[in-house]
């Protein structure tokens, strides 16, 4: 709440002519926007160029930002659309979650951060699973579980209804798990269904 209040104050200052204050917004949101572009393009250079363009575009459209709503989802929506246009123009058939996780240091860091230690094989599976997910499913998962967006904000960013956004996240999780666990997934699902049935009957 305080963060949003701070963002709104900065936006008001920028709109009244204090262009330098925009720096605070760029500093605050450059990481998720750069990472979004990196996930969409798989290129460090393209991600940098696109992230710059997104912040410039957001600045140009800033007077159309609706006061009282959250800035980050609004910025993210601009980013998504910009990334989509780039992919369309460059005819990129498949977006990928690349390199991230391929180096050992990332694997170590990730294992340390996880509450439960993951084996390098698990990290590899998650990375590969996210890479293979279609863009909208992957971003729905990232927005929901990584960025903490509400369903309404996910719906706005992905241009869906709220129920559509819920369905996208739900199906994304199922698809990701299927990609990660392969044949074991079907067995696990059957076991989970049986456990649920037992709970209901017992």
């Amino acid at each position: 709440m305080m963060e949003e209040l701070y963002a709104q104050q900065i936006i008001a200052a920028v709109l009244t002519g204090n262009v330098d204050d925009y720096r605070h917004l760029v500093l605050r949101y450059q990481r998720p926007i750069f990472n979004l572009m990196y996930r969409m393009t798989g290129s460090h250079e393209d991600a940098l160029d696109l992230a710059q363009e997104i912040f410039i575009k957001a600045y140009e459209k800033l007077e159309h930002f609706k006061t009282g709503s959250r800035f980050f989802p609004w910025l993210y929506t601009i980013g998504m659309n910009h990334g989509r246009n780039f992919i369309r123009d460059h005819k990129m058939e498949k977006q990928c979650l690349v390199e991230m996780g391929q180096d050992e240091s990332w694997v170590d860091r990730f294992s340390q951060q996880s509450q439960r230690a993951w084996s390098p094989l698990d990290v590899q599976r998650l990375r590969e699973g996210l890479r293979q997910l279609p863009l909208d499913y992957r971003e729905a998962m990232i927005l929901c579980y990584h960025e903490g967006f509400s369903m309404k904000e996910i719906a706005d960013a992905l241009e869906l209804s709220v129920s559509g956004a819920k369905m996208r996240v739900h199906r994304g999780l199922r698809k990701l798990r299927q990609l990660m666990d392969g044949e074991n997934y079907e067995t696990e699902v059957k076991k989970a269904d049986e456990r649920a049935r037992d709970r209901n009957t017992g």
Binding site: M2, Y6, Q9, A12, A13, V14, L15, T16, G17, V19, D20, Y22, R23, V26, L27, R28, Q30, R31, P32, I33, F34, N35, Y38, H44, L48, A51, Q52, F55, I56, Y59, L62, E63, T67, M100, R109, F110, Q113, S114, Q115, R116, W118, L126, L130, I142, C144, Y145, H146, E147, G148, S150, K166, V169, H170, L173, R177, M180, D181, E188, A192, R195
Partner: protein, 203 residues
Amino acid sequence: MKPKSRRPMKEQEIEIRDDRDRQIVRSIAQLPDLEPPWELVTSVMQSLKPKRLPWWRRAYLWAKAPRAITITPLRAIPAGVAIAAIFALAIVLISPNKDRPNVQVQNTKQLPVVFTLKVPGASSVAVIGTFNEWNAKGFEMKGDKEREIWSITLWLPQGRHEYAFLVDGKKVVSDPQAAFYEEDGFGSQNSVLVLRGENGQNT
């Protein structure tokens, strides 16, 4: 800068079937981000030009922008005292008070006028006129019996006044020193006094 606090995962909105689902969701939340290149901020800021919005639009945005208000006890006490004082003053000014003198501000400027009349052997003399609706009560003149001169000082508004003297309560006498006279319609003449400017007129 990475978002410092993320809202809780939406397990209540999306079905989490088992521990494996929970593990995957938690792992996505903890995915480390790549560091954005340092030149990102610099290149963005160098590309921006200040906004040239019309003044009314800037005023509207300024008025609509949220502001953080910090209240500490040290600031709240004098602010509270000031607010209480304003309320108290408003109550005093608004509430009716019968004891308060009824002060009327007159827009019309008043000037002092000294009426004098020499009448030998009179027992009472009063001045009557348009300014007191020809009513002698309260407008009795003081007499110098040795000199046989009666006088009174009145504060009268600027403008034209007709007047006369009432001697011994029954005889109406016009002012022999008046500059102008006006027929009263009953066979007598009223004296006419015209007051203008800063100077009183001595009749």
